[in-house]
Symmetry: C2
């Protein structure tokens, strides 16, 4: 186990009706809010009206930034920053899923910075200060509600990049599983894969001696595998939605990465695909993960992949390589059982872009930690994930 | 799953040499410290000298309260409070195990209260304010380093009572597994049981729909079962000490109790035994747990006990009652394998006190949540745990 620092200060308010705490939570930081949300779903569900009513009841004034898209754009961030500065906002409140929260975080950082917020992603500037961020979560997926990270896309440069800072950790997050009842099956499946992918990126690590972290990761994987299909079949199943929502937060709040190197190669590859094709993050991951597992399987990686197969999928097989292969097969079948695509060609990725994606993903550095990947490795993974070996 | 609130703000600094952060952590709160510790072990190990050197290097002045005992006394707390008030201390630093940390917490609370600190336990007063508390942990057991609770004994009234407040949560905890290398085998075993007991108290719950919490609990139980015996056989095994230490913190920081009712009957009974006999907490628990499990096993509790047996002990048995019994047997055997006593008579408890212990444990309320226990239930458990059925 490596040395680590961890602090998880977000105040979680979890469960039915917890929105009742919203006014009080906001007033800890001030009474001028920038409300950030996506499309019309929170208007259709009535959540928007509820939030605005709470503002009124608590003497909170607000301005709004709506229309935040999946794979949120730096252009939305810039709009939000302008609003914060103009209206001297005290807190940025995200109501939505991970995209909305990520956008709100960078708005909060941009509000305290004189330059362009894209500087945080090009490493031209470091995030040292941010307005307080609060969240009302409507979708179990990214874990952004309880962590310091954000991923933003730039249409001009065709980049999708991440950044993070302790000052971006939401001060409070209201997690009411009922808000996710209206999430459609495909998004529920993609969200479940997103949670699982975060777990994989931390579970598959070269660091020895992290037994407790591995067992916790397996606990979370089992939860996703158990409840993903239930939430798809029964969108209003509270138990399924609650277990998925809490697992989404736990999977990426630092618990699983404490004391170990983490991989993130699959995410880095998927980000380059999303930057060009704007695919749903979890969907892209569902395609890549089994091919990544298959590609990196060798003598060195087999023991951990076999452990995964045995502990998560109950594969009873003593030979590591064979157990690992069975686990990879189970993973691919599970994603497919949730009606997710299993090749890049199915979702419209063109073979002519594979080399560019591989090149961009590895332009600045070798990917991965569990298994290091260079350009040719990434291209190989993309070609098998594409569905046919591209010329 | 029930609604819940959770926030875990302690800054954890985990690993070899993390003591180097101590000065900086303290100076966030001030430069006058009350140093609280137990017997001479931190002097023998050199940790005391190291801490005092860090004070000097950082311009931190300190006063000391030493001699804090296992099952820490309210008399020690009173001494510490006097020192805080007299010297206008800014932070209370506990260097030791759970007893030292619990004592430091109540000192910190007492420093901001005009009455007697025992009032916090008799519910005459509520803890609303406390000096900041920091810890340097030397023993994996209680989890006090990352939670709001404290248990204190009163020699005059022969009581051992708990209290808690969010203001008592340590601001920072330095967790260096190497400090636990010198913990003797019996204390290592008792600490391992203490961690497991915390997990059991939260795992065995009547609340349905808490799948993720159960799987996390099983992950932690497996870690204790795997590494407890290794740490006993190889006291300097870093991996074993690190996994146990981090698990001790995770087991009682709110993660496992989030969203569910918890039991705590075994702890309540053990506290009454300790109040009279001053036994090591983990040792008393190791005796009581299997008898408690056996006593409460019925049709209603069998499914969860069977789940425990199957998921933690890999018992392959489809009949719940039989699986549960096999799991209980494994538990008792495991505690015995760590050379812990398995009956109350062995540790000097006298049969004449059993009725009094049962009476005191149930004087104010019914115990438990997974299974409710009245006076006669507790007496039955004590009598079987005693080793012979008392008259």
């Amino acid at each position: 186990m490596l040395n680590f620092n961890i602090q998880i200060p977000t105040r979680i308010r979890f469960g039915r009706g917890k929105i009742e705490d919203l006014g009080k939570e906001i007033l800890n930081y001030g009474d001028k809010v920038l409300l950030v949300y996506g499309g019309g779903s929170i208007k259709r569900s009535g959540l928007y009206d509820q939030v605005v009513q709470i503002f009124q009841d608590n003497g909170i004034t607000h301005v709004e930034l709506s229309g935040v898209q999946p794979n949120p754009r730096i252009s939305s961030v810039r709009q939000g920053v302008k609003l914060c500065k103009k209206h001297e906002v005290h807190l940025v409140l995200a109501v939505g899923g991970g995209s909305t929260i990520d956008c709100a975080k960078i708005i909060a950082a941009g509000a305290g910075y004189d330059g362009d917020p894209w500087d945080f992603f090009t490493r031209k500037a470091k995030i040292k200060y941010a307005l307080p961020v609060g969240t009302v979560l409507t979708l179990a997926a990214t874990g952004s509600e309880m962590n310091p990270s954000a991923v933003i896309s730039n249409d001009d440069t065709k980049q999708k990049l991440g950044t993070g800072s302790p000052v971006l950790i939401p001060r409070f997050s209201i997690l009411d599983p009922e808000y996710s009842f209206t999430v459609p099956p495909t998004q529920t499946a993609a969200g479940t894969v997103d949670i699982m992918s975060h777990i994989f990126e931390q579970y598959f690590s070269p660091t020895p001696g992290t037994f407790i972290q591995e067992r916790l990761a397996e606990a979370m994987l089992k939860t996703c595998i158990h409840f993903g299909p239930i939430a798809i079949a029964q969108p209003g199943n509270y138990e399924a939605r609650a277990n998925l929502m809490w697992t989404s937060s736990l999977a990426l709040n630092g618990l699983l990465s404490a004391g170990k190197l983490t991989d993130w190669a699959t995410h880095d590859i998927e980000h380059e695909i999303s930057a060009i094709y704007d695919v749903t993050h979890g969907l892209g991951l569902a395609i890549l993960i089994p091919y990544w597992m298959q590609y990196i399987l060798d003598e060195q990686t087999a023991p951990r992949l076999a452990e995964y197969a045995r502990n998560v999928w109950e594969i009873e097989e003593s030979e590591d390589i064979i157990a690992a292969q069975a686990g990879i097969k189970k993973t691919a079948e599970f994603f497919k059982s949730m009606n997710l695509a299993s090749s890049l060609s199915e979702i419209g990725v063109e073979s002519k872009h594979l080399a560019e994606i591989a090149q961009r993903a590895t332009a600045k550095r070798t990917l991965g930690a569990f298994k290091k990947l260079e350009y040719q490795d990434v291209l190989n993974i993309l070609q098998t994930a594409y569905g046919v070996v591209a010329p």
